[in-house]
């Protein structure tokens, strides 16, 4: 259907287990993500989907299991290292920087790419100033892409929920990530807005070749846009495959989908 | 328009030191009111004053200094900050602006050397003098200075520049008289002294010197009672020797001794005169009249007497009935002499020591009395006790010389002053 090529496995999670005290958030989960694909994670509430994303970008450290990213086994890693390696994400409960404007929020997304040090920035001539403009240009591209020009200077706290979600996506995109983790990007949107969001996600995936891991409860969306789906329930993996495989999996139907959709 | 002599009062009536401040400023203002009411001013020159709230804060003090500087007909003619911190903060400024600064019983000790500090007058007694008098008092109690040998004195001090100032002096005296001295600091504010007093008990000293400040004083007295240290073996500095320091300690304070360059009591003629001439006309400054005659109040009266007498002295030289400027006032302070005859005329005999200021010696007296708290009020215990000038003076000169060197000041030659 379009030009993008699904490539090799770039992220391989093997036998991941994660516990919080007595709570088993994830039990012995293995799955992989291929380059350029859209990989969905679905499952009932509390299944461990968000925890899974947190494991991928180093916010949580699983007690057991191996994580191989780009062929390298990852030791204990801090989240900012994941960002350096090109993993960006959005959050389920919006995690924008409330005290900053939309533009500044998105600019923070490019922080890993900034080279000038704080002294240069304090004096604000030469490299620091050039850099600031250069990154601003990149950020404006993202802003144009997501069509949020009109709210550029607004403090994010004042935006309605849906727009905040979009700003968060913009922040993640500003980092030009090779892998994008999206935690329920369409929650709280109406159909029209969801359509827009899908379009954005597809375009990012298409045009930039970004690999996407997506958590979403809207089955219409998941089934339509994802290449492969993994299903979690109570921290266990109960299904993995193409949307059609999953849709017809008995266990998935009884645990999550309920009556056939 | 009648001629008026303006006196700026950087006062503090709120906050932690309000209790002391309201007493001192009350007494001081009342005395000036007395001079105005009874005598019609100093040789016809009325005294006027304005307060400026410092909250005992250095920055506010500086602001008050600058604000008061240009007030009144002649500008401010004497600055008395009543806070060592503010004293330091305006030390340089007073010389530039030619306004004498008078610090009675606080401030910079080595400013007693008038050659280096022509504009600063730490009058009556400084901390070092007072401390030697204290040792003299203890010696007398022990039956002679030679009996001090082998004795042990604990110096409980407020852990600050103020508190530390007497340590070198005590050490020198310990060497001279052969007693041991143990210094125990109490950190600000000093409202908890359990550990310090357990140490006192362990040390088993013969005497304790209390160099306290604010709430540290009643706390120390109470803690002494708690560990069973006799209060009549505790000698406080004058910032530990007011009603404010003993009343909160309740019964525990009975027997506590403190040094003072003024005494408590409302029976002195000068205080009576204030009652008759000021309060009868409803012009008194104190809201709580019961505090008239308290240590702080009387100290304020002493401030008033010294200020007024300096104006008088200056007028005698520069013209009676004229308003004095800062330089003339400085001369007045530097040539101030209040002998016992004059004290009697003022109604302040025994109330404060006689004094004679010179170019060399801006302290002018160095005498203190010791008073004891009897559970209700302060009772005078001794006559005026002189400081150990031989010990103190060289130390002052040394310290002043160091300052002069640091600041590139050439000390005045006092033989040339007239």
């Amino acid at each position: 259907m379009n030009g993008r090529q699904i490539g090799d496995v770039i992220l391989d999670l093997q036998n991941i287990s994660l516990r919080f005290g007595g709570v088993k958030a994830l039990t012995n989960i293995s799955f992989d993500v291929r380059e350029h694909e859209i990989r969905a994670i679905i499952g009932p509430n509390g299944a461990g989907k968000s925890s899974m994303l947190n494991v991928i970008n180093g916010v949580y450290h699983p007690q057991e299991g191996r994580i191989v990213f780009h062929g390298e086994e990852r030791r204990r890693m801090e989240p900012h290292m994941a960002a350096m390696q090109g993993i960006a994400r959005t959050f389920q409960n919006i995690a924008l920087f409330k005290g900053m404007s939309v533009l500044d929020n998105i600019m923070t997304g490019r922080i890993t790419k900034m080279k000038s040090n704080f002294l240069e920035q304090a004096i604000h001539i030469g490299r620091a100033q050039r850099e600031e403009l250069e990154h601003r240009r990149k950020v404006e591209e993202v802003i144009d892409f997501l069509e949020i020009q009109h709210i550029r200077k607004t403090p994010v706290g004042r935006l309605p929920y849906g727009l905040q979600k979009r700003v968060e996506l913009a922040r993640a995109l500003a980092a030009e990530p090779s892998m994008l983790l999206l935690d329920e990007p369409m929650a709280g949107m109406n159909v029209e807005e969801k359509q827009d969001m899908c379009r954005f996600i597809l375009d990012v995936n298409d045009q930039m070749g970004t690999t996407i891991v997506l958590i979403e409860h809207d089955m219409g969306v998941v089934m339509d846009i994802s290449d492969r789906v993994v299903v979690l329930d109570y921290g266990k993996k109960i299904g993995d495959g193409t949307p059609d495989d999953v849709r017809n999996n008995e266990e998935v139907i009884s645990a999550y989908l309920g009556v056939a959709h | 328009q009648a001629s008026e002599q303006f006196i700026g009062l950087p006062s503090y009536r709120v906050g932690a030191y309000a209790a002391g401040g309201s007493g001192i400023y009350g007494g001081w203002i009342d005395y000036m009111a007395l001079v105005n009411e009874r005598d019609g001013g100093v040789n016809g020159v009325k005294l006027t004053w304005e307060e400026c709230e410092t909250e005992y804060n250095n920055a506010r003090g500086v602001e008050c200094y600058e604000r008061l500087k240009s007030k009144g007909a002649s500008g401010n003619t004497v600055f008395q900050p009543l806070s060592t911190g503010i004293t330091y903060s305006v030390l340089d400024k007073v010389a530039q602006d030619k306004i004498p600064m008078v610090t009675i019983g606080y401030g910079r000790t080595d400013a007693s050397d008038g050659r280096v500090f022509p504009w600063v007058f730490p009058m009556l007694t400084n901390y070092w003098s007072q401390n030697t008098a204290k040792i003299k008092f203890i010696g007398a109690k022990e039956g002679g200075m030679d009996k001090l040998k082998g004795k042990k004195i604990v110096n409980i001090y407020h852990d600050s520049a103020y508190g530390k100032e007497t340590i070198p002096l005590l050490d020198a005296q310990a060497k001279k008289y052969g007693f041991t001295v143990v210094h125990i600091p109490v950190s600000h504010p000093g409202n908890e002294q359990q550990s310090q007093w357990l140490r006192v008990r362990q040390e088993k000293p013969d005497w304790v010197i209390l160099r306290g400040w604010g709430v540290m004083n009643p706390t120390a007295i109470k803690a002494a009672a708690k560990v069973g240290f006799p209060r009549d073996k505790m000698v406080g500095v004058w910032w530990s020797g007011a009603e404010e320091d003993t009343i909160p300690a309740g019964d525990a304070a009975k027997g506590f001794i403190a040094a003072g360059f003024n005494v408590a009591g409302a029976n002195y003629p000068v205080v009576k005169a204030i009652q008759d001439n000021v309060y009868k006309k409803n012009k008194g400054n104190m809201e709580d009249k019961a505090r008239i005659g308290s240590v702080y109040y009387n100290r304020g009266v002493v401030h008033g007497i010294i200020t007024v007498e300096a104006i008088r002295t200056a007028q005698a030289k520069f013209g009676k009935g004229k308003v004095m400027n800062g330089e003339q006032m400085r001369w007045g302070f530097e040539n101030l002499a209040i002998d016992s005859k004059r004290l009697k005329e003022l109604g302040a005999e025994g109330f404060m020591p006689d004094l004679k200021v010179t170019c060399l010696d801006h302290e002018g007296s160095g005498k203190v009395k010791f008073q004891q708290w009897d559970g209700k009020q302060w009772k005078v215990l001794t006559d005026w006790i002189d400081a150990d000038k031989e010990l103190v003076r060289p130390m002052i000169e040394e310290s002043a010389a160091k300052y002069a060197k640091e600041k590139n000041i050439t000390p005045r030659d006092c033989s040339k002053e007239g």
């Binding site: 916010v59 989240p79 900012h80 960002a83 994400r89 995690a95 924008l96 920087f97 409330k98 005290g99 900053m100 923070t108 997304g109 922080i111 890993t112 900034m114 000038s116 704080f118 920035q121 304090a122 004096i123 604000h124 600031e132 403009l133 601003r136 | 006062s11 009536r13 709120v14 309000a18 304005e50 307060e51 400026c52 709230e53 909250e55 250095n58 920055a59 506010r60 500086v62 602001e63 600058e66 604000r67 240009s70 911190g85 330091y88 903060s89 400024k93 910079r108 000790t109 080595d110 852990d159 600050s160 520049a161 103020y162 530390k164 070198p168 950190s187 600000h188 809201e287 640091e406 600041k407």
Partner: protein
């Protein structure tokens, strides 16, 4: 119609990223600077310069420093006065012990010492947050003052622990008139304020704010929390250190360690909260409020109400009014005077329409 953005189109991002993108603001700030550099020294009395403008500027600088740490990076600090003390005592000692030390270098080194101390006491911030972090800075506050009092070397063994700052001489010029002192302080403060503004509108500033607003998310984006927090401590302490040096050299002349007590730290904190947390102009507005208001109230009482009220009541009334006004302003605008000013501007922009 005076305050309008309309018609001012930004053709380039460079134009949009100026410090003051709106023309009226640019003109305003130029007027303000002209006023500060030319009119004030020409017309202000000695009292105003010495007792009001200089402390106002010095405190503004300290507040600026604290605002970087607390307002921008979100790390609550109650130790600003201690960092000021480090700056003051360090500058004094550099001047004292190194012959021919240039004054401005001594100030910078004083600031640098404060920055080092700031980093040391900032280390716990990697683990401790919010009001709990205040304890680390309180430890700094008490420990530093204790150390300066205890170790005589810092005050050149003066018997009272007090230091007297050296004269201010730069390239042979003696800054001793009130005007000269004021201009020196003003220049330093203006330059440092500009640098602060530049930092907070660049990526360091954004990193600070990100850490403040949501540190987990900040880390996920790739911000190194440790570096960012410690940098905030260092820069903030540097500002406080320089402010401390100016406090000693240009304002009081003579300082003692106890002068840099907790009260002063709180005062600086009050300034940024009243002025506006996370705003450069807020530091100045807050400093003006906290420094000037009590003086204003006192003058008012002395001049207008003298004799009407007993002096103690009058003094205590001042305190009550001061407290009341703090509350009043917070109720009107919890985000401080700077925000109030912003809203006023926004209203002005809409004027004469209400919305």
């Amino acid at each position: 119609m005076l305050y309008r953005e309309a018609g001012q189109f930004k053709a380039t991002y460079a134009a949009d990223q100026q410090i003051f993108p709106i023309r009226q603001d640019r003109i305003g700030i130029q007027l303000l600077l002209a006023l500060a550099f030319v009119a004030v020294p020409l017309f202000a009395s000695e009292y105003w310069l010495k007792a009001i403008m200089v402390p106002f500027l010095v405190f503004s600088l300290a507040a600026l420093g604290l605002n970087i740490l607390t307002g921008y990076a979100g790390q609550l600090s109650l130790g600003s006065a201690a960092f000021m003390a480090v700056g003051a005592f360090a500058s004094y000692n550099f001047m004292l012990r190194i012959d021919g030390m240039p004054l401005l270098v001594a100030f910078a080194l004083g600031g640098l010492m404060a920055a080092l101390v700031g980093i040391a006491f900032g280390l716990p911030s990697l683990r401790i947050k919010g009001f709990y972090l205040a304890v680390a800075t309180l430890a700094a506050q008490f420990f530093i003052v204790w150390l300066l009092t205890k170790v005589g070397w810092f005050s050149n063994d003066s018997s009272s622990g007090v230091i007297t700052a050296q004269e201010m001489v730069i390239l042979g010029y003696r800054f001793d008139s009130p005007q000269a002192k004021y201009l020196l302080v003003l220049s330093i403060v203006a330059v440092m304020a500009l640098m602060a503004k530049n930092m907070v509108r660049s990526s360091v500033g954004r990193a600070w704010m990100a850490v403040r607003d949501m540190d987990v998310a900040a880390e996920v984006i790739g911000i190194r929390i440790m570096y960012t927090k410690l940098l905030a401590f260092a820069v903030s302490s540097f500002y406080c250190g320089v402010a401390g040096a100016l406090y000693a050299f240009a304002y009081l002349g003579t300082v003692e360690p106890e002068g840099f007590n907790l009260d002063l730290s709180f005062k600086i904190l009050f300034m940024i909260i009243i002025g506006g947390v996370g705003s450069i102009s807020g530091a100045f507005l807050g400093s003006a409020f906290i420094v000037l208001l009590p003086i204003f109230l006192d003058v008012l009482v002395q001049d207008v109400f003298a004799g009407l009220l007993s002096p103690s009541i009058a003094s205590n009334m001042q305190l009550m009014v001061f407290g009341g006004l703090i509350i009043f302003f917070l109720i009107v605008e919890p985000h401080g005077l700077a925000r109030l000013w912003q809203i006023a501007k926004e209203k002005l922009r809409l004027w004469p329409f209400p919305h």
